[in-house]
């Protein structure tokens, strides 16, 4: 244990760099996935059948084993951050898209009808009524997606992607040596802490951005 703490102290700068890089790629992926999901959800949520089809297509991404997906992308975009980012976006899409569609669809019909009856056009209804009311559900989707891909992002190192995966794979390739365990465990620990940190940031963000009327 003392040895491990000594190791952590020795490597803290390096671990912090990896963690920041890890957080960066996760948040980029979430931002891109959220943007794509929003546009897609807004296009499809009013058409039940289309929404169902789109959701099942996105769901199939999640069924592809992550290592396989990372590898599959190499022929198209090469090694490095790109395949990692693309794979993470694909994985993050399902929870975000599904929750956005579900959130938008679950807005009370009477509320929408009264908005329409008072002369709010479609765009204004979406911006002022439907999205704010769906927001807590959407944010939950984003939160789930974030925690999900913090774990998956570690596999990005397999295709030379940035992040804590670097140390995990380094450790795995040295199994048997004393530093192997240290490398792996410290990186996993950092990933778990990062996930917890982001998760609680979302809770705060949810508090700050959700109307008091629907809390």
């Amino acid at each position: 244990m003392g040895e491990f703490l000594h190791y952590l102290n020795f490597r803290k700068g390096h671990l912090l760099d990896l963690t920041v890089a890890h957080a960066q790629i996760v948040l980029y992926a979430i931002a891109i996935a959220t943007a794509i999901s929003f546009v897609t959800a807004i296009l499809v949520y009013r058409h039940e059948r289309v929404a169902a089809i789109v959701l099942s297509i996105v769901a199939t991404f999640l069924t592809i084993p992550s290592l396989a997906l990372f590898t599959l992308l190499i022929p198209f975009v090469g090694l490095g951050a790109k395949p990692a980012l693309i794979a993470l976006v694909l994985y993050a899409m399902l929870p975000i898209l599904r929750n956005t569609v579900v959130g938008l669809r679950s807005v009370d019909r009477a509320v929408i009808e009264s908005a329409q009856g008072m002369g709010m056009n479609r765009l204004r209804r979406l911006a002022k009524i439907e999205l704010p009311l769906a927001w807590p559900v959407i944010l939950t989707g984003i939160r789930v997606a974030t925690v999900l891909i913090v774990g998956i992002a570690a596999l990005g190192a397999y295709v030379n992607g940035p992040g804590l995966g670097e140390d995990i794979f380094a450790g795995l390739s040295r199994i048997g040596t004393p530093t192997a365990l240290h490398l792996t465990v410290s990186a996993i620990l950092a990933a778990v802490l990062l996930a917890l940190l982001l998760d609680s940031l979302y809770l705060v963000l949810g508090k700050l951005t959700t109307s008091r009327g629907i809390r």
Binding site: A110, G117, M118, G119, I214
Partner: protein, 395 residues
């Protein structure tokens, strides 16, 4: 279609005119609304009433074009609005639905401010209007402005829904079963408040309900709709009750048409009984004298603002050990524009033979008692029998 009596002022041009309005929904063989022509005059409450599936809600929703008509025209204030921008049209008509549909994520003030904001009013004007409307519906602006819909009772939400519809002072109000989801006692109160409001506002109101009793109570004119929104009769409630145009109408009004006129007569229209009253601070002797000085057997205690508080009878005075403020029965109150039906209902609920009637400020006007209601019922039944015998109804 029966044309009504021309009792209401300027009948030259209707405020709303529906002309051969027809709706067929995609995939259906029959028209939901078929060639409906209806004229609605300024300042009137027109009730669309009919059995479910008669197309009354479809008709209402075609007036603000939430449902686009398949054919026919809609005129508002003489202008053909069948093809104008529907969002702009809707801002000229208040819209109240059964589920109210307040926006849960914004404050009461912002709910009410919806249409003024769409119309681009400035902040001060919106704020002043919101406060004015909250006052109008009897809710203290300082207390309610910044609350959220979830903090309101059903009755308060309904009032805010009406205030929101009135916000930009539209000439027209469309109401789809606005009181149906509310418990019967609150409903009667809200109906009376709304009628009171209407005497000040004189809006043109199109009101959908399935309840003939509500139609009789609320309507200046009732359109009884048969299948496909065919107008079975379009007339004043009095005329519809006295002379149903067809077997369908008679059937729809149902049994007890004469008793339904209890919904037509306002408490203020029958002679109120004057009752002995005393100030709440009166002592036992004063109250005893007041009771003995009349044949009513009890006294109504009023507070400083003449608001009725309690009924006291001789028997209550005998509980000498208890302060006067704790004996007797709390006074149930009726607005002047409540109907005899409301009054009878209140008496049956409170098991008291009399109810105090108050004005808009809550001050005592008189008492309506069970004898007055019974006399009114007798008169109505006699009228009805006279009609059955083919004589002219004495009204």
């Amino acid at each position: 279609m029966t044309e009504g009596a021309t009792a209401n002022g300027n009948r030259s041009q209707p405020l709303i005119r529906l002309e051969n309005l027809t709706k067929r929904f995609p995939g259906q063989k029959r028209n939901a609304v078929d060639e409906l022509t209806l004229e609605i005059f300024a300042g009137e409450i027109v009730i669309l009433v009919g059995p479910s599936g008669s197309g009354k809600t479809t008709t209402l929703r075609m007036i603000n074009r939430l449902i686009e008509p398949t054919s026919g025209r809609i005129f508002l204030e003489g202008e053909d609005v069948t093809a104008v921008n529907s969002d702009r049209l809707r801002r000229r008509m208040g819209y109240v639905i059964q589920q109210i549909g307040l926006f849960p994520h914004v404050t009461i003030a912002n709910n009410i401010a919806t249409v003024p904001k769409l119309l681009g009013w400035n902040k001060q004007r919106i704020r002043a209007r919101v406060d004015e409307l909250l006052e109008l519906i009897g809710m203290d602006p300082a207390a309610y402005r910044d609350r959220y819909p979830k903090e309101l009772s059903g009755g308060q939400s309904q009032r805010v829904g009406v205030a929101r519809a009135l916000a930009a002072d539209p000439p027209v109000l469309l109401m789809d079963e606005p009181f149906s989801a509310i418990d019967p006692i609150t409903r009667a109160r809200l109906q009376n408040e709304f009628l009171q409001l209407q005497t000040q506002l004189r809006k043109t109101i199109v009101f959908v309900t399935h309840d003939i009793d509500e139609a009789i109570k609320m309507g200046d004119r009732i359109a009884i709709l048969d299948d496909q929104s065919r107008v079975a009769q379009y007339d004043t409630p009095e005329q519809i009750l006295a002379a149903p145009a067809s077997a369908f109408v008679e059937d729809f009004i149902g049994a007890g048409a004469s008793l339904k006129r209890l919904n037509l007569t306002r408490v203020a229209d029958v002679g109120l009984v004057s009752w002995p009253t005393e100030h709440v601070t009166a002592d036992r002797d004063e109250i005893r004298d007041a009771i003995l000085g009349s044949d009513k057997g009890s006294v109504l205690l009023l507070d400083d603002e003449r608001r009725p508080q309690r009924w006291l009878s001789m028997m209550d005075l005998e509980h000498t050990g208890t302060p006067l403020g704790e004996v007797g029965l709390p006074a149930q109150l009726m607005q002047q524009n409540a109907t005899l039906y409301d009054a009878l209902n209140e008496m049956l609920n409170s098991l008291q033979g009399a109810t105090a009637v108050v004005d808009a400020d809550g001050a005592y006007c008189g008492v309506i008692d069970i004898e007055t209601v019974a006399a009114a019922i007798r008169a109505m039944r006699q009228d009805a029998r006279r009609v059955l015998r083919g004589e002219e109804a004495v009204n």
